[in-house]
Amino acid sequence: MNLKNVRSIAAKELALYFNAPIAYIVIACFLLLTGFFFTRPVFVQNFATIRHYLEMLPLFMLFFIPAITMRIYSEEYKTGTIELMYTLPFTRVEVLAGKYLASAAVIGAALALTLVYPLSILLLGPLDIGAAAAGFLGAFLLALMFTSMGVLGSSLTRNQIVSFILGFLLMFVFFIIGKLTMFLPPAVTYAGFDLHYDNFVRGVVDLRDVVYFCSVTGAILYITHLVTAKEQ
């Protein structure tokens, strides 16, 4: 894998994100919604915490991340530009890596903007900085995992709406199985992200949880690689 190629592809994808209004609109909606759920407990209930925000975050990501990733492959399939990408001297792995990194960067940037929430609490009252840092680390890892799922959804179809729904469904499976502790055996709920993400939100950084997020992300990206290495 040639890193220069990956960088060229990622730069192109970022240009496409920010030349069109879609990324701005999606990020603005994301900030508006999360902002509401952050401010309510702080001002109404006087809690100096971002825990509520972090607890709500996966639910917002479920909608926000596929909205960002849905175009990443589908648009190129639809307009035929994928033929340009695949006939330039890039390998398919480089194309996937560039596309994944660009989507992750956009999502990461949106998430980084929400760092103003803990910063504004710091101005108002005592904040458990360690717990907040751990929580954000978990949020970033979860975003990376969801992004890989969104990219996989997009690699499967030329229709962006179908791409959104596929990405959403895949994320939703991991979202819901962690919540069905009453009905599912522990081994299955362990595959959901709830258990792992909750540790971060509580301020616990456990290497096993880090490994969980990284390995699911890696596995999904590998499946995406198998999909894109195959011809349309």
Partner: protein, 307 residues
């Protein structure tokens, strides 16, 4: 030299390309001709490495596409069918991306050169989505030649353009063709006659004929064609074969008022114009049209691809 042997590609149960073999010599312009769905695009997509052939091999100067796909892609410039482009990028951004991908040493200078050649310098800061079809085509062409490739593959470069724009694209091809091997697909016959050195006619995934345009002309069974028009009797077409020997067919080619025009094909190369003229004088017909047409590529194409 590009050598293609036994190239086959199947999509499910459909065989799109079936055992095509051809040699494309250095510095020649090869026209790939065929009706829609004949397998032209599939063949070109295999040449550019977008599709992998199910059977057969492609090699450029002995470098096999299966062994060194990247090396081959570096030698090739490609303008795909319908010229897909990133609508949300501006022209300079797009060409810079291609320049980075092609690892061009001085991208700004090269983009400037190519922009001048393709006459898109004024468009560099414009969004590709805003460009007219003619300009889009030039942007696609500029991207294809940015790394000064040895081989240029153009899939229907003039499809959907108006006659002026099509002529501009043909001019670009002519300006660029020095020391280049160009493979060009089209279903516009005069275009092939104008630009191509050699023609390969593909029909239903196989090669129906190949050769220089002169060689293809010798393939047709239609030896001579004469257009004959004027105020002719209604039963002209029926009577003519009885009056002049060696007539293969008489087809109505057009009519205007009481004047009609026929296309007469003969079985031999012998000129029937003197006989026709003598006949017209004898019968007292008013003649407005009498000239010989050489069998065009269109006739050959029709003979080979229909039936």
């Amino acid at each position: 030299m590009i050598s293609i042997t036994g190239l086959t590609k199947r999509f499910g149960s459909v065989t799109a390309v079936n055992g095509i073999s051809a040699e494309i010599r250095d510095n020649e312009i090869l026209g790939l001709l065929g009706p829609n769905g004949a397998g032209k695009t599939t063949t070109m997509r295999m040449l550019t490495g977008f599709l992998t052939p199910d059977e057969g091999t492609i090699a450029v100067d002995g470098v096999s596409a299966a062994d060194a796909p990247m090396e081959l892609q570096r030698m090739i410039g490609y303008l795909p069918e319908n010229n897909p482009l990133y609508e949300d990028m501006n022209v300079f951004e797009y060409l810079s991306f291609v320049a980075a991908a092609r690892e061009i040493a001085q991208p700004r200078r090269r983009i400037g050169e190519v922009a001048d050649l393709c006459r898109i310098r004024d468009m560099l800061t414009r969004s590709i989505g805003e460009l007219s079809k003619g300009y889009r085509q030039r942007v696609g062409f500029a991207a294809a030649i940015l790394h000064d490739p040895k081989i240029l593959i153009l899939d229907e470069p003039t499809a959907g353009l108006d006659p002026n724009q099509a002529r501009e694209v043909r001019q670009l091809i002519n300006e660029f063709k020095k020391n280049k091997t160009i493979v060009l697909s089209t279903h516009i016959l005069p275009e092939v006659e104008e630009v191509a050195d050699r023609v390969v006619i593909i029909n239903r995934g196989s090669i129906a004929a190949q050769g220089s345009i002169a060689e293809l002309h010798s393939l047709t069974t239609r030896r001579g064609i004469v257009r004959f028009g004027g105020a002719l009797p209604k039963d002209f077409a029926v009577r003519l074969p009885g009056l002049i020997p060696g007539i293969q067919s008489v087809e109505l080619a057009g009519s205007e008022g009481d004047r009609v025009e026929y296309e007469i094909q003969t079985t031999t190369a012998e000129d029937i114009r003197p006989a026709l003229f003598a006949l017209a004088v004898k019968e007292g017909w008013t003649v407005t049209e009498l000239h010989r047409v050489s069998a065009s590529l269109e006739h050959i194409f029709r003979d080979l691809t229909i039936g």
